[in-house]
Symmetry: D3
């Protein structure tokens, strides 16, 4: 009966992306641990950019400087 | 000095219900563990229905299908 | 589908007390919010006394000074 | 810069399964949200069976009754 | 690679105060544990006053009674 | 009445370091937000290296490769 919490910055995560995260994590729990999806909760918590800090800086400040958390190509 | 976090979907929980949860949990900590209420925190975190997943589906989708988390009569 | 986390210091909480907490919180979610117990998780996280701080002091130090978190009679 | 916490009962999850969960969740964050893996943390918290409750019962008791959280075949 | 979560009531915490908390905690992790700031996340979660309970009462009620969490002078 | 949780890998954090973290965070809450230390909890949660993932790898594996989370000199 897993409980999984995903914490991310609030930067336009769409309803479809949230559904994909929920589905993906639930499937993973079944594939890896054989857990019953009926007993798996996945929650997504979004934080305002002023409320998340990385390397001692607010993410809102990092974004103003053009620093993102996106995958490097 | 207990800390208790209650996580639920945001579906119209009233101020009175929140107070009842806080009072009920605090009393339980005193009854079962003899904890001083002055040292007990209870927090309630509400999630949008798009942000809670059960069985691989968003609760917002489950509700549209008429599936609730209410006690079966 | 509530998820409730109870955090306490590890000070001899018995199996029976844990069961009483789980039962008590689950019943409370049903009484106050009409939630289905089948969809309610309650978890208990215990912390070593060195790992919990109150008023800037480790609880292990507070206990050595005779300060407890018990209800005042 | 996502942070993901996976909470499960402590029932023999192997090192390889933990690695699969960490890899799977990290990949999912990249696929769905284009997040940089270098900025993704995944933590796994395991609970003793006495410390997890479902439907008002300790999981240790549920297991003694033969009730598991495994996927129904 | 520490992750630190600060939970407080939502009572007018300013952007500058949030930055000071993020900077202060990140520096502390470096001073005490020699952690790389690049691998330190600090998140701030604010709760509505109805959603935080102390001593069995909602903080919103405590505030109406003139009870604050401010340092005693 | 802040609650702060510090999550780190279990890599020999000493009792004195834990005390320094607890004291440092509590003082910070007072300095920045004027919070009463009597109403501030700080908890430290340590994770086994197999249970923390960064960039899709277990920290136990990263450490075997000589990769640390220490501050770069």
């Amino acid at each position: 009966m897993p409980y999984v919490k995903i914490e991310v910055t609030r930067e336009g995560v769409t309803r479809e992306q949230k559904q994909a995260l929920i589905k993906g994590v639930t499937d993973l729990m079944t594939e890896v641990l054989n857990k019953d999806p009926q007993l798996t909760f996945v929650v997504i918590q979004e934080y305002d950019l002023d409320n998340w800090g990385h390397a001692g800086e607010q993410v809102s400040v990092l974004r103003e400087k053009g620093i993102t958390a996106e995958r490097k190509k």
